[in-house]
């Protein structure tokens, strides 16, 4: 593994020669651009990056990155990426998935990836709809969603991806938004720097089948009151003039106005190592009375699966040095026929 490189890359080095085929106006363009912009600064050799995806609009992503890439089958990217990383811990492995790919057909692989804490980076494009199959509801669509497959409204409760990831044992969960390019670049970098599975949810607008799903968090006139930008070690302040904050009322996060009654010292201070805070923040997703937490909710250090495999192997080799399969073949009760 080489963390530094002599070569200075530019965005162009990470851009493949393939024409990008997402619908004009799709949020995916911004995600691709931010990734291509930030990758040159990660300080790693280009050939060490691998992008793995499943099926869905998001999963075309690897074709547009000039790195190693594998566009696989629906839902299975986490398992393929696990095989890549376990087999080759020297690579930087990125997994691009969507709310259908990663949480519906591939939900099983996603939770097992997270509990194993394999050091790879998940970018989950959440547009709360099935785009590639032309507009059915997804496991993150809100209840009552009217789509072609749910003409009278969807009945099932959506998954909250970050709560799910936390419950599955994730060591890093974060959220960003397609239109927030600078923030997204920061989150991609933070994901890269985390050792263990990083789970980055990206709110991504599908302007064809679910336009405006996140407009509350992206429109100029509303976003300052609806988004809580998380900063580790800082009180949870939001609002146009930084005039609001999150205060714990008992254990319940509550919005307060800063001024006469409350000041910054009364607010909850974000600590990305605190599971209780992460759990609380992830549960604030799309609730009417609290802003949407955006940023790194949780990041803790924990041993990775592939490191543990490597240490089991190295201690096994230490215990039985110089043994080979021929020794095993030769062992057991043997006899000679002349």
């Amino acid at each position: 593994m080489s963390e530094s490189t002599q070569v200075k890359y530019t965005r162009k080095d990470f851009t493949s020669d393939q024409a990008v085929r997402w619908c004009p106006g799709c949020g995916d363009y911004s995600i691709l651009t931010q990734t291509q912009k930030v990758f040159p600064d990660l300080g790693r050799k280009k050939e060490e990056f691998v992008f793995i995806s499943g099926i869905g609009c998001s999963s075309r992503f690897p074709y547009y990155m000039h790195t190693y890439g594998f566009h696989s089958i629906h839902g299975r990217a986490p398992a393929i990426a696990s095989g890549v990383k376990i087999s080759r811990p020297d690579l930087s492995v990125w997994l691009v998935t969507g709310d259908g790919d990663g949480l519906s057909i591939g939900g099983n692989h996603t939770i097992h990836l997270l509990r194993r804490n394999i050091d790879l980076n998940v970018m989950l494009f959440n547009n709360r709809i099935y785009g590639l199959t032309k507009g059915q509801y997804s496991p993150t669509s809100e209840v009552g969603k009217v789509t072609k497959s749910t003409p009278l409204g969807s009945l099932d409760e959506p998954f909250n991806p970050l709560t799910l990831a936390l419950g599955a044992g994730a060591t890093f969960i974060a959220r960003t938004i397609d239109k927030e390019s600078k923030h997204m670049q920061e989150m991609i970098t933070e994901s890269y720097n985390h050792k263990g599975t990083s789970f980055l949810e990206i709110y991504q607008n599908c302007n064809i089948f679910n336009d405006g799903a996140f407009s509350n968090f992206t429109d100029r006139d509303t976003k300052s009151d609806t988004v809580l930008w998380l900063k580790d070690g800082e009180p949870m302040v939001f609002g146009a003039d930084g005039n609001k904050g999150i205060r714990l009322d008992g254990n319940i996060p509550t919005v307060v106005e800063l001024g006469d009654k409350w000041n910054k010292d009364d607010l909850l201070v974000h600590n990305k190592k605190d599971y209780m805070i992460a759990s609380m923040l992830s549960n604030m997703t799309s609730k009417p009375d609290t802003p949407e937490p955006i940023g790194v909710l949780y990041a803790v250090d924990a041993p990775t699966y592939e490191d543990n495999i490597a240490s089991q192997i190295s201690s096994a080799v230490k215990n039985k040095p110089k043994s080979s399969i021929q020794d095993i073949i030769n062992s057991g009760d043997t006899w000679v026929v002349k």
Binding site: S16, Q18, K45, K46, E47, E48, V50, F51, I52, I55, P62, Y63, M65, H66, T67, Y68, G69, F70, H71, S72, I73, R76, P78, A79, I80, A81, S82, G83, V84, K85, I86, S87, R88, D90, L91, N108, H109, H112, I309, Q312, I313, A316, V317, N319, K320, S323, S324, I325, Q326, I328, I329, N330, G332, D333, T334, W335, V336, V337, K338
Partner: protein
């Protein structure tokens, strides 16, 4: 009364008892000793799917059959000469297989009212004399004898009683003139931390042996001479273990890291267990969350440059279908191992069958051909595993390897191979020479094999993307052009077909023309070979061809088949190879199809051949 020693050519013994009676272990010890004394042998374990069915019930009967001989043998035997029945249920289940004149040895202590009722006996068959007209029956209170032998040991009666299988083993060792030493050594090693358990088992073993020696119940001991096997250093080997060794040998010779992605399933799990214990060889095993993750993690490892394997049985293959298609279109090397069992669905998990051949041939969407080869004996599992790996990396293709429960758990004497003498597996990863006009071409093929280059991530300037969408020839770019798709479909098929060009000439056992050819694949090889030998001895013009490769079929097969008036294809399915043979060669092959969860017997094949020849 004196005890006479009688020399015989071959013997079949079946140990049967409750799942908790240790019959597999007893059979295993008898096998190891028999191997060491130099007989040829073949074994057939037969155990229930239930881990612990209610004690004494018919469902809980577990059995182990061994045939050993002074001659070269191919099967674990059709019917037992001796049945050891440790309880009434074991007698009930297996008595009908014992031919008149056969010997039955029972632990009379287990023939109590409760067990008799569980087995469905109205009266005790050891007392009502119903067996005596047909069989030589030895009713021995093994439990009491063992308890007597161990009475001064500080062990609970329950633990002492668990040694009774070693009593039965000791008695059989006496009957067939086998030494106790290797079993005593094995016990000492196995229970090194429990000296009292070693002692009780050794005492039980000796008590059984001495019972034969000192009582006058037995009139005859049997000896079976050493078999005239080809010279060499031998060991006994079980199929799944041989297969694991073959995979590890392929990793060693190819200098690739072995990666196994797998999910536990009977009867394939032992391969996962075995490879997981070989971490000191640098082998990486990954127990995935499901069958699909088993194969897809392996495919990820293949993409990264590992020797990638996934192991399963039929139901798992059904789940892996889509991922196999992905391996076909991305042209990555991957060995998919199906240890077949009874189906459909959960079917008969612990019983054997050959009913997944069509699934192997056609069980994927689209035109998705995979090379298919099958193992013929437990020891052959080593060689087919090695061959599957060699072909996968040489042709850049997923390969399907079929074994079955009978081969996986069965065992035979096996010449210890020197892996340096196996065919080489030379892997050359793509490098700068694969760059054309500044661009790496992931689908620029080797002209001879049609294999595409294998470019390991981490290699400078070979960045490329592969995937499940149709690829343009040479560049590997996503491509929907009709002509390109047609070309790629044909190319992938041709690549698999080309493997036939390197297959050795087909080995015909017997004359190259005649009245009837027996054509077999997989685990029926032994029964077919035995039947052919018997029929030829009987003056019949019968020959035998066994297929290791089913896709592609050998180039010379068609020419051989037409030299016979009849072609008979015995299979443990309703006729799967026969459909391929009929379609491929337009010959009127005849099927012999039994789907009973157990091997087809040599006798059944012989009867069938005779009927055909009489017509």
């Amino acid at each position: 009364m004196s005890i006479s020693k009688k020399q015989v050519d071959e013997v079949v013994i079946r140990f049967a008892g409750d799942s908790g009676d240790g019959m597999q272990l007893t059979g295993g010890r008898f096998t190891e000793t028999t191997a060491v004394v130099g007989n040829d042998l073949s074994t057939l374990p037969d155990f229930p799917a239930e881990i612990r069915a209610p004690a004494g019930s018919l469902a809980g009967v577990s059995a182990f059959q061994i045939k050993f001989s002074s001659k070269d043998i191919h099967t674990p035997g059709d019917v037992p000469d001796v049945l050891v029945a440790m309880n009434p249920a074991a007698l009930k289940v297996h008595q009908s297989d014992v031919p008149p004149g056969g010997t039955i040895i029972c632990n009379s202590a287990a023939f109590n009212p409760r067990n008799l009722k569980l087995a469905g006996y109205d009266s005790n068959p050891l007392e009502d004399k119903t067996l005596d007209d047909y069989f030589t029956v030895y009713s021995i209170d093994m439990s009491r004898m063992v308890s007597e032998a161990c009475k001064d040991l500080d062990l609970s009666p329950k633990l002492v009683d668990r040694s009774k299988n070693f009593y039965a083993l000791g008695l059989l060792f006496w009957m067939y003139d086998r030494p106790l030493k290797s079993t005593e050594d094995w016990l000492a090693k196995k229970f090194a931390k429990k000296p009292e358990i070693i002692e009780s088992n050794v005492r039980a073993l000796n008590a059984g042996y001495n019972y034969g020696e000192t009582t006058e119940i037995f009139t005859t001991r049997y000896t079976v001479d050493k078999a005239n096997l080809p010279p060499g250093k031998y060991r006994n080997v079980v199929g799944n273990y041989a297969l694991s060794m073959g995979l590890a040998a392929a990793a060693e010779r190819s200098k690739l890291e072995l990666f196994l992605g797998s999910y536990p399933i009977t009867p394939a799990s032992d391969i996962l267990h075995t490879l997981s214990a070989w971490k000191h060889l640098g082998i990486k095993t990954f127990q995935a969350e499901d069958e699909i993750a088993g194969i897809t993690s392996a495919l990820g490892a293949a993409f990264s440059g590992s020797l990638a394997i996934t192991t399963t049985s039929g139901p798992g293959i059904a789940l892996k279908g889509e991922a196999m298609g992905l391996a076909v279109i991305t042209e990555l090397p991957l060995v998919v191992i199906n240890v077949q069992r009874g189906g459909p669905s959960t079917g008969l998990p612990t019983k054997t069958e050959q009913s997944d051949l069509m699934q192997a041939m056609y069980g994927r969407n689209g035109e998705a051909p995979m090379p298919i080869l099958a193992s013929s004996t437990p020891g052959d599992c080593f060689y087919v595993a090695y061959e599957a790996c060699r072909i996968a990396v040489k042709y850049m293709t997923p390969v399907m390897l079929l074994t079955d429960g009978y081969l996986a758990n069965g065992s035979e004497p096996w010449i210890v191979p020197d892996i340096k003498e196996l065919p080489p597996i030379d892997v050359k990863f793509a490098d700068k020479s694969n760059i054309v006009d500044g661009q790496f071409m992931p689908y620029l093929r080797n002209k001879d094999t049609l294999a595409r280059p294998w470019a390991k991530p981490g290699t400078e300037n070979l960045e490329h993307r592969i995937g499940g969408i149709e690829k343009e020839d040479v560049t590997g770019n996503v491509n929907y052009d009709p002509e390109n798709h047609h070309f790629m479909v044909k190319t992938r098929a041709l690549k698999v077909q080309n493997i036939a060009n390197e297959l050795p000439p087909t080995d015909v056992f017997g004359e190259k023309s005649g009245d009837l050819l027996i054509l077999s694949w997989g685990g029926t090889q032994g029964a077919c070979r035995s039947a052919t030998e018997a029929l030829v001895n009987d003056g019949k013009k019968v020959s035998h061809i066994h297929l290791r490769w089913i896709n592609p079929l050998p180039n010379d097969l068609g020419g051989l088949l037409i030299k016979f008036k009849h072609v008979l294809i015995p299979e443990i399915n309703l006729g799967q190879l026969i459909k391929i043979i009929r379609a491929e060669y337009l010959i009127d092959a005849i099927g012999l199809n039994k789907v009973k969860g157990k091997p087809i017997s040599s006798a059944e094949i012989q009867d069938n051949v005779k009927k055909i020849l009489e017509k």
